[in-house]
């Protein structure tokens, strides 16, 4: 049986913000789903199956909330799956949904990622004491700071590269109406002078905590043929996971990342990523991860990723724009953040990214990672069938 082709025919997002106190969790996910359906000109009844992704249930305090949310997404009587692969979950959710179409099982699948962080407290949720383990109680930043310091030492990157990334993404966010942080008056000096949280990560180099949801409608070739708006074809997807407790891990450039990238490019027939990919939406919750992932993704030689930041290559208007939506640094509804990357990549090749559109983008990479940089999910989408 030949694999069916699968396309993104609809994208829906909510405005990301600290607290969406005006809606329930169900109301939040429904808002994104309705926008995705409108984009695809579909009704609830047209959807065959639903895949919901989100990060830890402690972030809202509801165990397996898909059970509650299925109804709000038109899921009664339908198959509903719930994916959780840590921070990469938004990407994994879209990939699992794509397999439902590619296998020929379903024609139209709704994939949705969300987080309503204001319902609980993420710092608490991430700091629960664990049996058999020493708690470092340092949050995600405390975990990643030593890894970033290691990258800085290995690459001899100038100290302010992270600030350049943060400033760039916050400027990009101004062109994205859905972005959480809109800081038109922010200056580069203010980024540099912001308090040091986890050396070398400054406050302004971290992501915000956001409420929000993102949905995509995935469709078979036949279903995509009648979509009213341009579609994004999924050329390739890849996922990899690596061990948590393994002393041989390369934390700066994890083996799971390298393997995921190699698999992705092989499936998509990409040999020269810099030339063949027009725009990248990558998961950068802490600024320094942009140069680190640029290297892991093959856009720069090892130790050279920071040069693409410094010379403006990754700016909107540069040769390889990265996170023109403002990225995770400007909006972080955790369980949706990976899907936002995947969805923004799709919007770019559909020519529907609005003010942050990269002119003539035909091929885009969506990237997400999670855990202690152990979980990876990626896809390549293109405008051409």
């Amino acid at each position: 049986m030949a694999k069916e082709r699968c396309a993104v025919i609809g994208v829906g997002q909510t405005k990301y913000q600290s607290t969406r106190g005006d809606v329930s969790i169900a109301g939040l996910v429904r808002e994104a789903a309705l926008r995705a359906l409108a984009d695809a000109a579909l009704e609830w009844d047209d959807i065959d199956a639903i895949v919901i992704g989100k990060a830890p249930d402690f972030f809202e305090g509801v165990m397996m909330p898909e059970i509650v949310l299925g109804e709000a997404l038109g899921g009664v009587g339908k198959p509903v799956l719930r994916v959780h692969t840590a921070g990469s979950v938004g990407g994994s959710t879209a990939i699992v949904a794509s397999t439902l179409v590619e296998s020929g099982i379903h024609a139209r699948v709704l994939a949705l990622g969300f987080e309503k962080q204001s319902e609980s407290n993420a710092m608490w949720a991430l700091s629960l004491p664990q049996a058999f383990q020493t708690s470092i109680n340092a949050g995600a930043g405390g975990y990643f700071a030593p890894i970033i310091r290691r990258y800085m030492a290995m690459s001899a990157a100038p100290e302010l590269v992270g600030c350049l990334v943060a400033f760039k993404d916050r400027q990009h966010a101004l062109a994205n109406p859905y972005a959480h942080l809109h800081q038109p008056d922010l200056t580069f000096d203010q980024v540099v002078e912001s308090p040091m949280l986890w050396d070398p990560i400054r406050y302004s180099e971290t992501c915000p905590s956001s409420d929000g949801a993102c949905a995509v409608v995935l469709a078979s070739e036949a279903a995509a043929a009648v979509a009213p708006n341009p579609v994004a074809w999924i050329d390739a997807t890849a996922m990899r996971s690596e061990a948590n407790n393994f002393g041989g891990r390369n934390m700066v450039n994890p083996a799971a990342s390298s393997m995921c990238v190699a698999d992705l490019y092989a499936k998509a027939g990409i040999t020269e990523p810099r030339r063949e990919i027009d725009v990248v939406e990558m998961y950068v919750p802490f600024s320094w991860y942009e140069p680190m992932w640029l290297e892991s993704l093959g856009f720069a030689e090892k130790g050279e990723g920071w040069r693409l930041v410094e010379d403006g290559t990754t700016r909107l208007g540069g040769a390889l724009p990265v996170n023109t939506s403002g990225g995770v640094l400007s909006s972080n509804p955790i369980g949706a953040s990976g899907m936002v990357r995947f969805a923004e990549a799709a919007l770019q090749v559909r020519g529907m990214a609005g003010e942050h559109q990269v002119d003539g983008a035909t091929r885009a990479l969506g990237h997400a990672y999670g855990g202690g940089a152990q979980y990876f999910a990626m896809w390549i989408v293109s405008a051409a069938a």
Partner: protein, 349 residues
């Protein structure tokens, strides 16, 4: 459709494991690998099911994946659902033709907390959640509706319990087993009126692992593979006030989609944690109790691993086919209050 079979199943369950989840699951995963001779490098895809709320930790499965020895890294995914849905995701993946084998595991270590109270956090957080109705209380309401409507009697519930405990005698994993007479069970006091101790699940820590393989591998590693003829899963509305507690329409839709009753079913492993739920499910699936042996393992009633019970049912049904004790089997998994979400799989020898 690409032919896919369950080629191996293993499980562990006991009231309490004084081990972490990695230690608890590593032997189970090792068992299915040894049974098939498929090592980590031979398994193309891995998918697991578990709940952070049981582990009391965010991203808990990120630790447990170490039980698979993922060095080098693996193609892997995870559902925050019973392992039966992880098996569904893996089955879909094998349908793409890109993978030939998949390791699936589902597990839960619920002993550190009170599972029936933890499950109250599954309720919608605005209307029902604050009432903190626990899992036994909610199941008891359903039993009460069914009793009042004449769908079951307390004697019928006790019969189901007695039969399950008798069957559980031959299952080394059973938590509850023994020869009990119906009159004896009915003389016991109520635990949660109308539920008695024998009507509620015997909670356990543990988990199950299964290996799925396409024909080329399955016929090599398994003498009598359990061919998965179909899997379907559906969801019902969550809100208890909007439900008919005597029905699980999603189970019926899934069974009809698979034409479960089109041929004789030798064995049905139903994920019915409560006695009255077995009666309800048998009706929704259209099972003929004369022709079909229900829960020969003792079922979820006699050993219930939260997040692993459904995958265990699939494994137990497949194992009957492996051993030549059944030719056609149905396995079922459930999630949510009042059997809200249901998965049905049909397997043949």
């Amino acid at each position: 459709m690409i032919d896919v079979a369950v080629v191996a199943y293993a499980a562990r369950q006991q009231p309490v494991f004084d081990e972490n989840e990695i230690e608890m699951m590593a032997p189970v995963i090792e068992d299915v690998r040894v049974a098939t001779g498929l090592g980590p490098d031979d398994l193309d895809f891995t998918c697991s099911g578990s709940s952070d709320f049981l582990a009391g930790a965010a991203f808990s499965f990120v630790m447990t994946v170490d039980a698979t020895r993922p060095v080098p890294p693996i193609v892997e995914s995870h559902v925050e659902m019973d392992g039966a849905w992880a098996l569904y995701e893996a089955w879909v993946k094998l349908q793409l033709g890109e993978a030939k084998t998949a390791l699936i595991y589902g597990y839960g270590k619920s002993s550190p907390g009170s599972l029936r109270d933890v499950l109250a956090t599954q309720l919608d957080p605005y209307a029902a959640g604050p009432l903190k109705a626990d899992a036994f209380g909610i199941a008891g309401l359903q039993a009460r509706y069914m009793l009042d409507a004449g769908d079951v009697t307390e004697a019928r519930m006790a019969e189901i319990a007695a039969r399950s405990m008798a069957s559980a005698e031959s299952n080394p994993l059973s938590i509850r087993k023994g020869t009990r007479r119906v009159e004896e069970l009915l003389a016991e006091p109520y635990l949660h009126d109308p539920l008695r101790a024998h009507d509620v699940p015997a909670r356990a820590d543990g988990g199950a692992a299964v290996i799925l393989a396409t024909r080329e591998v399955a016929e090599r590693v398994c003498e009598r593979p359990a061919w998965v003829r179909g899997i379907d899963h559906r969801m019902d509305i969550h809100h208890l006030g909007a439900r008919d507690p005597r029905r699980a329409p999603s189970a019926a839709i899934a069974a009809q989609a698979l034409a479960v009753t089109a041929d004789k079913i030798d064995v049905a492993e139903l994920d019915a944690p409560f006695t009255h739920q077995e009666a309800l499910l048998a009706t929704e699936l259209g099972l003929d109790s004369e022709a079909t042996t229900i829960n020969p393992s003792g079922g979820s009633l006699c050993g219930h691993v939260m997040m692993g019970a459904g995958l265990t049912r699939i494994g137990e049904a497949a194992a009957r086919i492996h051993r030549g004790e059944a030719d056609r089997a149905v396995a079922h998994a459930t999630s949510g209050p009042w059997l809200q979400q249901n998965l049905v799989a049909v397997m043949e020898g």
